[in-house]
């Protein structure tokens, strides 16, 4: 077992590479089982505390998991350590609940089918132990509240419920005197009961219903509180909630809208990159995120590989950015694919808001928001695919949108790849940590540790051999990749070294 929390204060220098271990899997694929399209996970997100995890899938469902290893222990982990108790526990989540967030729809005006696929999930401020989250498909954002409700039974009615027909409800329309129930004649009948009808002491024969809590059992109920729709002409690619707890943004290919959580009927357009003539369109928005602490700052990425930081204080319509992060193109390297592979598929702020992590097709880049001349670090992820770009273009894989994430301490970054692999890289100065893991019960089985400095091509990943895959793409060296199994979505726990990632319909978790 390695050090746990009690890592001895290391002398200044890069932290030790992490030793990743398999923790859990949900929805594991049995050999030979065919994955249903609707079950494929399309979004993963931890909440702010890390005690909850939400996944969304192509079938429009949202599944919630909750952490169990911290909750049901009266003693904190630190106390256990002090007692010289071996820490045999690792972060453990359990299935909490699931609900159908979106349904397939049809836009009759535009003759367009609207898929139910969940594109993004974002957690909102927790209140009164109820969980709140936003989920979106291509067009509509929904605000959900998930709350435990005690199972209760009502007894001691004034009118014998057994005499009434129906679900024991006296007031159902099938009651013996339907005209007396909740209708106008009913109103009239007790409006006639004037003040003096009720004796000063009240009527003793009347009873209030008694509510009995039948058991300690609780029911998790998910309710859709608000629907924010009809604000996007193009597909929504991101939503992000603001640190002010009051607003959030939604971004599509050409516009970013600002919403108030309480108001679903209107939103404000804050970025609009749509040219007057659509033929002049050269760049689209691919991802957008609010700064984690500054409520006025947000960043969005583009298909041309640039990240723009905007300040909402400057102007109501933020078409002019406050800062532009772009890497100058290396001279002479231009090819047909240059622009396609430069497109940023995901950006994430680090927890302190100092850095932005971006993922394009080939690399992960870490930017310092105070330095717009270039990234502070570049991690090659797919360099080995460079000779195959033509094939990847042919089969559309080149347009796959891989997500990326940062650890809570900001020392490491992670992103997904093909063949259900994902990479974890150290981004602390001097760190050479670079680990490739497979989303399976044995994540390290293909791992070949070749510590490399960031910015240098990583060859390790090319040596991975995929066994038993149906459509192996074998390269000249006999190495193969499976472009059909891609790990697009992953999330890092906000405070601990725990990564949740999605391989098709399975959710794998790893800890270190």
């Amino acid at each position: 077992m390695h050090g746990g929390d009690e890592v001895v204060a290391a002398p200044a220098g890069p932290p030790q590479p992490l030793d990743w271990k398999f923790s859990q899997v949900f929805g594991e694929r049995i050999a030979g089982e065919e994955v249903q399209e609707v079950d494929i996970i399309s979004a993963i997100e931890f909440d702010k505390t890390g005690d909850h995890l939400a996944t969304g899938d192509r079938g429009g469902r949202v599944v919630l998991f909750e952490r169990t290893d911290t909750k049901d222990h009266g003693v904190s982990r630190r106390d256990l350590e002090r007692m010289d108790y071996p820490i045999s526990r690792h972060p453990e989540f359990r299935y909490k609940t699931e609900f159908q967030s979106h349904e397939p729809e049809f836009d009759y005006l535009k003759s367009l089918e609207i898929e139910e696929k969940i594109n993004k999930i974002r957690w909102c401020q927790t209140a009164n132990s109820a969980l709140f989250l936003l989920s979106t498909n291509d067009k509509t954002i929904k605000f959900w509240k998930v709350q435990e409700k005690k199972i209760k039974k009502i007894s001691d009615m004034n009118l014998d419920p057994s005499k009434a027909v129906g679900n024991g409800s006296v007031a159902s329309s099938s009651s013996p005197k339907p005209c007396l129930v909740n209708g106008s004649s009913f109103d009239g009948s007790y409006n006639n009961l004037s003040n003096d009808f009720f004796p000063p002491g009240g009527l003793p024969s009347l009873r209030l219903p008694v509510v009995v809590v039948t058991s300690q059992e609780t029911n998790l109920v998910a309710r859709c509180r608000r629907v924010y729709g009809h604000a996007h002409d193009y597909h929504i690619n991101s939503i992000s909630s603001n640190s002010d707890g009051e607003t959030f943004i939604s971004a599509d290919d050409l516009r970013i809208n600002l919403w108030n959580l309480e108001i679903s009927s209107q939103s404000f357009n804050i970025v609009d990159v749509k040219p007057t003539n659509m033929e002049d369109l050269t760049e689209v928005i691919t991802s957008a995120e609010f700064h984690p602490t500054h409520c006025n700052m947000l960043a969005y990425s583009s298909s041309k590989g640039s990240i723009r930081l905007i300040d909402l204080r400057q102007s109501a319509l933020c078409d002019s950015h406050a800062k532009l992060f772009e890497e100058p193109e290396a001279p002479g390297s231009r090819s047909f694919f240059t622009e396609i592979i430069a497109s940023i598929s995901d950006i994430k702020f680090s927890k302190d808001g100092r850095h932005i992590l971006s993922r394009d097709y080939m690399t992960l880049k870490l930017w310092d928001i105070n330095m717009d001349s270039g990234p502070v670090a570049t991690f090659q992820v797919h360099e080995y695919l460079r000779p195959k770009l033509c094939d990847l273009y042919e089969n559309d894989s080149i347009f796959d949108k891989f997500e990326c994430c940062l650890s809570g301490d900001g020392l490491r970054v992670a992103t997904g790849s093909y063949s259900n692999l994902f990479r974890v890289c150290g981004c602390a100065p001097g760190s050479t940590e670079s680990t490739t893991l497979e989303a399976s019960k044995n994540p390290m089985r293909r791992q070949v540790q070749t510590p490399t400095r960031p910015s240098r091509p990583l060859s390790s990943i090319t040596r991975v051999v995929r066994r038993g895959s149906e459509t192996p793409g074998v390269d000249a060296n006999g190495n193969s990749f499976d472009f059909t199994t891609k790990l697009l979505h992953l999330a890092w726990h906000p405070t601990e070294n725990l990564i949740a990632c999605a391989a098709a319909n399975s959710l794998y978790m790893y800890y270190a």
């Binding site: 009615m157 909740n182 000063p200 009240g202 009347l206 209030l208 909402l312 204080r313």
Partner: protein
């Protein structure tokens, strides 16, 4: 079993726990009836505790409950028992839904305002303290709105504590709580004694004005005016004025927008001298702000602001900005300016208006955006009072004509709405020469809404200038158009006739209008015919009995035998109604 007369009330009580939310809502709305049926004592001992536990219901039900409980004092036995109402409302103050919490706070304030002092100390203040120390932000948000009720009756030591708690709330970790504290600061401050106001409240205010979150700072702007009015003028100048000036240069346009919207109230708070020295420059900056939204807000207040200044200051400082704004790059800024600028005329007086303001009016009247022109025209009466219409009329006419022919029908519609106003301002002579033709032209517009509005306009003109004038200038032209080859236009004329008839009176109706209608009953288009039936029906009460007998009824009888079913229907309907009129 329940007696027969009690059956409805028994159902009502049972439905408090029905599965159908609509029925639960209905029962909650009748809570006072239930309380009366149970009597005061059982309401206190059973109903209220029952409601306290009923806190996981749907928000609609909780909202209704929060509202009902606010007026529940009579049903629990009067003010001396008011405290029993606090527990259920306290729970409602902690729910997640904002509107439920707000309503619960409102109800608590209403109850607290009636409670006896010792009860406030014993029950209400502890409640406020509990909420303010709540684990979830929802409780703390609600607590902010209760301090102004709790504070006045608190003993000295508790008062100190309450101030300290409020100060904590102003620095809460959650922006939602700080926003609530900022929103309610003015109300709370109004109850705090002057010495503490200057020290404690002002330091809370300072915290809020320097908050990182724009959303908190902009609420603090609103507090400026409220606090300023509470402070002595010199304190206000010392403490509030610098804050306002700072805010007017805030990095966030939303904060500046708020200042632009509030500046007028802030001026009242600080008094005339500091307004001149500090706020006029601040306002001028806002009028020249980089952000169009801020300029829109500032431009919309230009008249109000000028009213509290003397004319020289307005001419010297504000007017140059107004000139710039009239050529602003944003049409919305110009439009906002156009909607208020006419009000400046009375403030500046005749000379300054002619010399300085008139050129601006004229340039706005030629603006490329119809909204700007429309806004000027809509406020024409204000400038007319100062300089008379003559100076304006030359530019006015082309503007009106252009709007009248605008290709967007909504613009045409808007100008039609102003025609009666223009007519009264411009006078009969001007109107006859220039606008009469336009009014007729609208009756032949391609868009139904315009024709409809034009028919109404004709009626309003007849009211404005009287039947004699209408007889000369409107009626013949309108009646001419009944021969239009297109039936939709003929229908418009029928509509205009039915509107004109009551204004013109019985004689003219009989001699001029009625024959035209009767003639139209022989139209070849059924739609015209059944509209004739409708118009005739409307004419029955206006004309004399004999005319009905001699002219209207025979025509209706004829129509009631028409081959077209709709014509028969409306003709029969008109006949029946004329029968009823005759009988009465």
């Amino acid at each position: 079993m329940i007696d027969e007369p009690l059956y409805p009330i028994a159902v009502l009580i049972d439905e408090l726990k029905n599965e159908d939310i609509q029925l639960r809502l209905n029962s909650i709305r009748r809570l006072s009836t239930i309380a009366r049926a149970l009597g005061e004592e059982r309401t206190r001992k059973e109903l209220i505790p029952f409601l306290s536990e009923n806190n996981d219901d749907d928000d609609e039900v909780l909202l209704a409950m929060a509202e009902e409980l606010g007026v529940f004092i009579p049903y629990v036995g009067g003010v001396e028992h008011a405290n029993v109402l606090l527990p259920p409302l306290e729970t409602l103050c902690t729910v997640e839904e904002t509107c439920v919490r707000d309503k619960a706070v409102e109800s608590l304030c209403r109850i607290g305002a009636q409670m006896r002092e010792q009860d406030l100390v014993e029950y209400f203040i502890p409640l406020v303290k509990r909420l303010a120390a709540g684990e979830w932000f929802t409780a703390r948000v609600s607590s902010c709105g209760l301090f102004h009720i709790a504070y006045p009756s608190a003993p000295e030591a508790l008062k100190t504590e309450l101030r300290a708690i409020y100060s904590q709330l102003c620095q809460d970790d959650m922006p939602m709580v700080r926003r609530s504290a900022a929103t309610n600061l003015g109300k709370f401050a109004a109850t705090v004694e002057a010495p503490h106001l200057k020290v404690d409240i002002m330091s809370m205010f300072d915290d809020l004005t320097q908050d990182d979150q724009d959303s908190v700072r902009l609420l603090a702007v609103e507090g400026c005016a409220a606090l300023g009015k509470l402070l002595e003028p010199q304190d206000c100048v010392a403490h509030i004025l610098p804050v306002i000036v700072n805010f007017s240069q805030d990095k966030s346009w939303r904060v500046r927008y708020m200042v632009a919207n509030q500046l007028y109230e802030l001026c009242e708070a600080v008094g005339p001298e500091p307004t001149r020295s500090d706020l006029v420059p601040a306002y001028v900056r806002l009028l020249r702000d980089n952000e169009a939204e801020v300029r829109i807000a500032a431009a919309g207040k230009v008249t109000k602001f000028c009213r509290i200044l003397n004319p020289e200051l307005a001419i010297q400082h504000i007017l140059p900005c107004v000139k710039e704004l009239s050529t602003d790059s944003s049409q919305h800024v110009r439009s906002a300016l156009a909607s208020v600028i006419m009000g400046m005329a009375p403030v500046l007086g005749k000379d300054a208006t002619i010399e300085q303001l008139l050129p601006i009016f004229l340039s706005l009247l030629k603006d490329e955006f119809p909204d700007v022109r429309l806004n000027i025209i809509s406020k024409l009466d204000q400038v007319n009072q100062v300089i008379g219409i003559d100076l304006l009329s030359q530019s006015l006419l082309p503007a009106i004509v252009e709007l009248a022919e605008d290709r967007h029908w909504r613009v045409r519609l808007a100008i039609i709405e102003y025609i009666p106003l223009l007519a009264s301002q411009l006078g009969v002579g001007f109107f006859d020469d220039k606008l009469g033709a336009l009014c007729m032209q609208w009756l032949k517009d391609k868009v139904y809404s315009i024709r409809d509005a034009a028919a109404n306009n004709v009626k309003r003109l007849a009211e404005e200038f009287g039947p004699d004038w209408a007889m000369q200038h409107i009626v013949p032209q309108v009646l001419d158009m009944i021969n239009n080859p297109h039936y939709l236009y003929r229908m418009t004329i029928l509509h205009a006739i039915s509107l004109l008839a009551p204004v013109m009176g019985s004689d003219i109706t009989c001699s001029k209008l009625l024959p035209v209608v009767i003639n139209a009953s022989k139209d070849r288009v059924p739609n015209i015919k059944f509209n004739v039936a409708k118009v005739l029906q409307s004419l029955v009460p206006i004309v004399e009995q004999s005319v009905v007998e001699k002219t209207i009824r025979p025509c209706l009888v004829e129509l009631s035998e028409d081959p077209d079913v709709d014509v028969r229907f409306f003709a029969t309907q008109a006949l029946e109604s004329s029968n009823q009129v005759m009988m009465s």
